[in-house]
Amino acid sequence: MPSAPPDGLPVPEDGSLPASALAEFAGASRPFGFYVHVPYCASRCGYCDFNTYTATELGGSASQGSYADDAIAEIRLARRLLGEVDRPVETVFFGGGTPTLLPAADLARILGAIRDEFGLAAGAEVTTEANPESVDPAYLDTLLAGGFNRLSFGMQSARRHVLQILDRRHTPGRPEQCVADARAAGFEHVNLDLIYGTPGESDEDWRASLDAVLGARPDHVSAYALIVEDGTRLAGRVRRGELPMPDDDVLADRYLMADEAFTAAGLGWYEVSNWATDVAARCRHNELYWTGADWWGAGPGAHSHVGGVRWWNVRHPAAYAQRLAGDTSPAQAREVLTAEDRRVERILLELRLSDGVPRSLLTEVGRKAADRAVVDGLLLPLAGDRVVLTLRGRLLADAVVRDLVD
């Protein structure tokens, strides 16, 4: 989640949701998911602006040991607030931070609480992010036994000097081994995350990373352009001139290299930064975000969306634990989306997908802009009166969105 939460409206102390949101939630046929934010890392990476803390930063105030109990308390609160509605959970995603810093049993226990309170749908997707250096086969066995069926490893690069700039601690080759271990343990779905455009990364380095990923044969790849986020150590180094700012043209070239390599290897894009071997390999949890479905985000700083209401939890683990101990909602603030907000969000999210956006979502001005973008080679008309980004359009998605939301 981003470093700076948006401004919002206050949330009642008990966390109760507006009746309209509850009614929409109860009657919706769209999927419901759970996100669990584990806000701990062994060390902080220089580029990272996520809500995460090292043991030193926390100074013993909110220990990892009690985290599972706090998260479970929030899951129970969720059950109370959402009412006795029968909406089994379709996807669960543990992210962070580094979820695998916790004992595998803790992750399984939290998942168990979700199962107990809400029930898991048949074939539910249950993912955890994992750091290549913090898992071993025994750990993976415990996760699998606990109900996890998808793993996402933060590989970032196959090159030592690139990993060093990113402050990643694993050695090259380790993520590929993790994929093999995951397969051996019986995980059906494995993702590798990549970052391109790191200062010091050459086209050749990037090519090596792509080759390493494809050699490991995951069924899903995410590739993100490095963003120099304000307030990070990396931003400081760029500001002081120690590292160059990633160049947009270079980032565009790297993206094209990645898309070409993945496509050739049978991984098709289905979201601007995500590729999968087939529909079943897509990350259903992320798709839930991108299609305006409902999810509850548990954990410090986690964001939720239920029936047109978005809210976000207090960010510090100690504050989070304290709220739950006092039987109050950990939500910090929320926003109630208007119909226009939701229309705009649909355009900006769905346009990033390979299914594209229905033109019916656009105003007349927006439809004209879409026609123009088709002429300019940024959009492609699809069957069912939809438009989808072309390869060049994907690289200019934000600009296209700005034109389409008018």
Partner: protein, 617 residues
């Protein structure tokens, strides 16, 4: 020195012309005129120490801060001459800058004498010299005075010799004063009585009074300063403006000493003010002749001219919604500025604004500064332009004050205004100055040594070359020692072309320029480069071209942007993304569209604001 006014002072309207001395002070901006005037006010007793404040006569704040006097006033000072006779000294303050030559000439026409005031540490400046020549043309008695003799850096011998050389007197005749300490000021006043001739007019003739200044006052309306040449004006009589035939009632008449003092009238040779209740200085024009409605004069005094704007510039509010405020502000300023003209104008780049005409660059700066300071407006101004006369092959003529209105088609001749420039500088800079004038298409018409190491250079220069940055260049190349004066002398035919700047084939009006054909290429290269740096990349390649007619003389490309997408989009990013999008949409609304190219107004402004607008080297 008398601290209180003498008794039995002659009253306005009943003063014997033989006792009147009308004089002005000719001085460069910072040579201490206002300080000397302050001392005169004190020494003659019209202002006591308690009321005294620095630069007493400079009413407007802007003048006080810049240390310059824009609007002149006339102060009536009683002074007892060494013979014991009380005289009336009318000190007429003159504007001190090149743009106000006409106003200066009218002030001079109201006087019989002029104090030539020169800083004893700096010597005479070009502006002063020019006004001195004007005074000599008006047959004024010149009293040469060196000021600031208290300064350690003063070189009174050197500059007395210089002044003596210029006006053809003995260096011993040059008075030495300190406006700051008051030394020599009483003697100077005595010399005024002794040397300045009394006014000569016909007392029994129909009234004729010359307007030498006209100031708008928000409480009183227009206050008009006059010098009565013949006859007299009386309280409450009806008067007539001879240039327009418009009549007014004299609601108030009086003298300034140094606050307004109403009187029964003003008679032959006297200087004072009138108030008629008009609200606009255009109804009471500098140079015009006032006469009585009944039994008035039939012939006006000579020398009246309509103020003629020489320099034009587009003024635009930075925030387009300030346009009505800008219009109101210009309306108000015009009440007090007969030379300011303006009409609405629209620009692709800058939106709605006004094409404004000014007497010159300083006038432009003053108006702009007053608009920003007094009306809290943020403005952008386009590069100043002069008035071109374009003759087409079919004989038709166009007057062009805005380069974007330069006619297309077959142009036979282009005429541009030229000036006669006078530059005074230490002789070591002669080469530098000649180089500068040469590159600005100047033609030398003369050169004189004022003293061993000071020289006067005279050039004919196109006004267009001066209105950009000539003065700044001159100052920087001579380390501030050179001074400049110029007066327009007519026009010349020149090989001028219009350079258009095109974005993706569409001309951007604000950047069109009329330049000499030898400089067109430079202007084109500089402007296209600058815009390439300032305009953000678009989704498509944008060519920036400079063209003369259909011929492209310079070209730059803004490469198409290739990446405009945030890679990640997690659940927690959605609100932030939507809010960012809303912000970007707001930003997009402020973009100016040139064809399909989105240009932030800031880019236009930056291109126009930079010191060097190109093509002028």
């Amino acid at each position: 020195m008398p601290a209180t006014p003498p008794v039995n002072v002659p009253e306005p309207s009943r003063t014997d012309p033989a006792l009147i001395r009308n004089f002005c002070i000719i001085a460069h901006i910072d040579h201490g005129k206002s300080t000397l005037a302050d001392r005169m006010l004190q020494i003659t007793g019209v202002v006591d120490a308690r009321q005294m404040r620095a630069q007493y006569l400079d009413r407007m704040d802007i003048e006080r801060e810049r240390g310059i006097t824009i609007k002149s006033q006339a102060v009536r000072l009683p002074w007892t001459a060494p013979d014991g006779q009380i005289h009336i000294l009318n000190m007429i303050d003159t504007p001190g800058h090149v743009d106000f030559t006409y106003e200066v000439s009218r002030s001079l026409a109201a006087c019989e004498g002029a104090i030539l005031l020169v800083d004893a540490a700096q010597g005479i400046e070009a502006q002063t010299l020019a006004n001195l020549y004007l005074a000599l043309e008006n047959d004024l008695q010149i009293i040469p005075v060196l000021n600031k003799i208290d300064l350690p850096a003063a070189q009174p011998e050197k500059y007395a010799a210089e002044l003596a050389h210029i006006i053809g007197c003995d260096p011993e005749d040059v008075l030495r004063v300190s406006g700051k300490t008051g030394v020599g000021v009483p003697e100077l006043l005595d010399e005024c009585v002794r040397l300045v001739p009394p006014p000569i007019g016909v007392k029994d003739a129909p009234a004729r009074a010359m307007i030498f200044d006209s100031v708008y006052d928000s409480y009183r309306g227009v206050v008009t300063y006059v010098r009565v040449i013949d006859g007299d004006l009386k309280k409450r009589e009806r008067i007539q403006m001879m240039s327009t035939g418009v009549t007014h009632e004299l609601l108030e008449i009086g003298v300034i000493s140094p606050e307004p003092k109403p009187s029964d009238g003003l008679s032959v040779g006297e200087v004072g003010y009138i108030i008629t209740g008009v609200k606009d200085v255009r109804q009471s024009r500098v140079g015009d002749t006032i006469t009585s409605l009944h039994h008035g004069a039939t012939e006006a005094l000579g020398g009246y001219k309509d103020p003629k704007p020489m320099v034009f510039s587009g003024l635009y509010p930075l925030d387009g919604s300030d346009y009505p405020e800008l219009r109101d502000a210009l309306d108000k300023l015009q009440l007090n500025d007969a030379a300011l003209v303006y009409e609405p104008e629209t620009s692709v780049a800058l939106g709605f604004g006004f094409r404004c005409g000014f007497l010159g660059l300083l006038h432009l700066e003053i108006v702009r500064e007053r608009l920003e300071r007094e009306f809290n407006l943020e403005l952008i101004s386009t590069a100043p332009s002069v008035v071109y006369r374009v003759v087409m092959e079919d004989g038709t003529e166009h007057t062009v004050t805005n380069p974007s209105e330069f006619p297309g088609g077959k142009v036979a001749e282009v005429h541009e205004p030229v000036v006669r420039a006078t530059i005074l500088a230490p002789s070591e800079y002669i080469g530098t100055i000649m180089d500068l004038c040469q590159t600005r298409r100047g033609v030398q018409i003369g050169m004189d040594y004022l003293s061993e190491d000071r020289v006067e250079l005279r050039y004919t220069l196109p006004l267009a070359e001066i209105v950009f940055d000539f003065f700044d260049a001159l100052k920087s190349k001579t380390r501030g020692y050179a001074s400049l004066d110029y007066e327009t002398t007519g026009e010349q035919e020149s090989a001028l072309v219009k350079v258009d700047i095109l974005l993706q084939g569409e001309a951007v009006d604000a950047f069109s320029a009329i330049v000499h054909k030898d400089k067109a290429y430079n202007y084109g290269v500089e402007m296209t480069k600058k815009l390439r740096e300032l305009i953000p990349r678009q989704q498509f390649e944008v060519p920036i071209q400079a063209a003369v007619g259909a011929r492209v003389i310079a070209r730059e490309n803004i490469r198409a942007i290739r990446k405009d997408v945030l890679a990640k989009c997690y659940g927690g990013d959605i609100s932030r993304k939507r809010k960012l999008l809303e912000k970007q949409k707001e930003g997009k609304k402020r973009m100016k569209m040139v064809g399909r190219v989105e240009v932030p107004q800031e880019a236009f402004i930056a291109a126009l604001s930079t010191d060097d607008s190109g093509g002028k080297k």
